[in-house]
């Protein structure tokens, strides 16, 4: 019986993951437009050239490269569409970022018969990203499951699978999309280590953390979070917690140091120069960085996509943060989110969307946790209804304009006021209660409507829609 139940849960996890995969795959090569971020090509060219010639070659805008050539490489006809008119500046050896993501997308491109940069079309190089994005979704569900149980896992999974900004963002060839699965594996491994005290999990977590930083240096969030988590669990780990921290740090940093080795292979002076240039980049996120984190995500350098799920994630994170005593799962979310906030504020150059992607897993699990708590208590229903109406109301505006909405205005006004009054009454007088099944059905219905609207919106993100989008 227990085995059957577990098997059933596992099936649900795979169904949610597959649902996320389908949404990520839909129009994956069209939205965002090819060339809206040249990084997508640059990563892949670097991997391709590294495998083919032993030399990493890519596009960079960073000062300090000695080998520069300018070329019009009209992959995906970008010079007729999204490119600015400037030719691409090709540099080698390319040290902008560590090489692992490029090796995946570039290696995949080579396996598909690509022979030169102009053939590295987006419909090829985004395919591994759709798989990685689905793997990330699976790991989000697993992390939520090991931290908070199955219900939170499914709720978080449904939101992560369908949130428009997460779906669109996860298709892009960006280092963050490569580091997130390893970062999640680190967190999952450490939670399992705390629960089982099995050293293999600690080592696996350390290896994952090291690998995260080989996708992009901001992947050190996995190392930082790991160290903070071990520290926060020092009472349960006992006297050996410092030994664990040493072991975790040594293994993960040894793997990170492979990027330094990469620099030594091609010229350490150039490597250091690029590293310094990178650290002196224009601080484009500015003082409004945190405000922008809450309200909108700049997907590319031109397109914004507001997604209320992210705002709700932050609200949930703050609710968790205000608890008097954090449990293990909550510590994972808080440490993960705020470690990355530190890195984001430290490294943040331009306010592009992909810099914020690593916040999404922990924020969405926080929201999943809060929703689960709301499901379990009718006294919290008012806040649940209020929270879910934010995405429902926002996404409705995408399908029904304000003039057409007038037809439904009475239903909206009286329906909402009715629900609000009912829950106020419920808060004042505990005799006014809806039975457990009733309130769960009501809240569940609103939640499912919000997921349905997510799906409708993701399916609406076609070339025409994206072109007109702000």
């Amino acid at each position: 019986m227990k085995n059957n139940l577990f098997f059933g849960k596992l099936v649900i996890v795979f169904v949610v993951t597959f649902f996320g995969f389908v949404l990520r795959y839909h129009n994956y090569d069209k939205v965002p437009f090819p060339g809206e971020s040249m990084d997508e090509y640059s990563y892949s060219w670097m991997g391709m050239s590294l495998i083919k010639t032993g030399m990493p070659v890519g596009i960079s805008g960073i000062d300090g490269y000695k080998n520069n050539i300018s070329r019009y490489i009209n992959v995906d006809r970008v010079f007729q569409n999204t490119a600015s008119g400037n030719p691409m500046t090709i540099n080698w050896p390319w040290f902008d970022h560590p090489p692992l993501l490029g090796l995946i997308t570039g290696g995949y491109a080579l396996s598909q018969g690509v022979e030169n940069f102009e053939e590295t079309n987006i419909f090829i190089i985004r395919r591994p990203m759709v798989i990685l994005g689905s793997l990330t979704l699976f790991l989000v569900i697993i992390l939520a499951w090991v931290c908070f149980g199955f219900n939170t896992a499914v709720i978080s999974g449904l939101i992560y699978a369908s949130s428009p900004v997460i779906v669109v963002g996860s298709r892009m060839v960006q280092g963050e999309n490569g580091l997130i699965p390893w970062y999640l594996l680190t967190l999952i491994s450490l939670v399992l280590y705390f629960k089982n005290k099995n050293k293999e999990w600690l080592i696996f977590g350390a290896v994952s953390a090291g690998l995260a930083s080989l996708f992009k240096l901001s992947g050190v969030v996995a190392i930082m979070s790991g160290i903070f988590l071990l520290w926060s669990e020092r009472n349960t780990l006992g006297i050996k917690w410092k030994e664990d921290v040493n072991k975790f740090s040594l293994i993960s940093l040894a793997i990170t140091s492979l990027f330094l080795l990469f620099g030594f292979i091609y010229g350490i002076n150039q490597f250091v120069e690029i590293f310094n240039s990178n650290s002196e980049r224009f601080y484009g996120i500015g003082s409004e960085a945190i405000y922008n984190l809450l309200i909108q995500v700049k997907i590319t350098n031109r397109k914004f996509l507001t997604d209320p799920w992210i705002l709700l994630g932050w609200v949930s994170m703050l609710v968790i943060l205000m608890s008097n005593k954090l449990k293990l799962g909550e510590k994972v979310l808080v440490i993960g989110t705020f470690s990355y906030l530190g890195i984001y504020l430290m490294l943040g150059s331009h306010p592009y969307g992909w810099y914020v992607f690593p916040f999404f897993p922990t924020l969405i699990i926080s929201l999943g946790l809060i929703f689960t708590k709301i499901f379990d208590s009718n006294r919290k229903m008012l806040s649940g209804v209020f929270l879910t109406l934010i995405p429902v109301g926002y996404f409705l505006t995408k399908f029904i304009d304000i003039v057409e909405f007038q037809k439904y205005a009475s239903v909206w006004k009286f329906g909402l006021v009715g629900i609000i009054l009912f829950f106020i009454a419920m808060r004042i007088d505990t005799k006014v209660i809806l039975n457990k099944l009733g309130y769960r059905l009501l809240f569940g219905l609103i939640f499912l409507v919000s997921i349905y609207l997510n799906i409708r919106y993701v399916l609406m993100l076609t070339i025409d829609y994206w072109y007109k989008a702000i």
Partner: protein, 142 residues
């Protein structure tokens, strides 16, 4: 732990040597040019050179640009190319680069008895003549 680290760094040094040797034997400018300059085998060339144009201006190139206006029997196309990305210093090189970006066959321009004539400041030019910064030519299809 120490054993692991020693093993790891032995592996790292071997990796270092392997990549170094591989890169020395495989990388050269010819291969780099092949990666960056070869045309995709999967594109269809346009019949009409005026179907496409290069979007925008190469503002980062300062005065190192040339403008090419193509006047076809059907339509026209205005393009600004950065000279930084043109290999060579003749108009022929510019047309070759433009053809690569705008996906047409440059042979239409470059063969003897071509249907195309190009003018700079109203004066007919040979495509093997040298280019200067901020030059502008008009090419007309007969």
């Amino acid at each position: 732990m120490v054993f692991f680290l020693v093993l790891f760094y032995i592996f790292a040094v071997l990796l270092f040597l392997l990549i170094k040797i591989y890169s020395k034997s495989e990388f050269n400018l010819e291969k780099l040019n092949s990666l960056t300059n070869d045309r995709s085998r999967w594109i269809n060339l346009a019949d009409n050179p005026c179907v496409n144009l290069i979007n925008g201006e190469p503002v980062d190139s300062g005065k190192e640009y040339v403008k090419v206006h193509l006047e076809c029997i059907e339509g026209s196309s205005d393009n600004t190319l950065s000279l930084k990305a043109v290999e060579g210093n003749t108009w022929e090189d510019v047309i070759n680069t433009l053809a690569r970006v705008n996906l047409f066959n440059p042979d239409d321009f470059l063969i003897d008895n071509s249907n195309w004539k190009c003018f700079r400041g109203g004066v007919l030019i040979n495509l093997d003549s040298e280019i200067k910064n901020s030059d502008y030519i008009n090419c007309n299809e007969k």
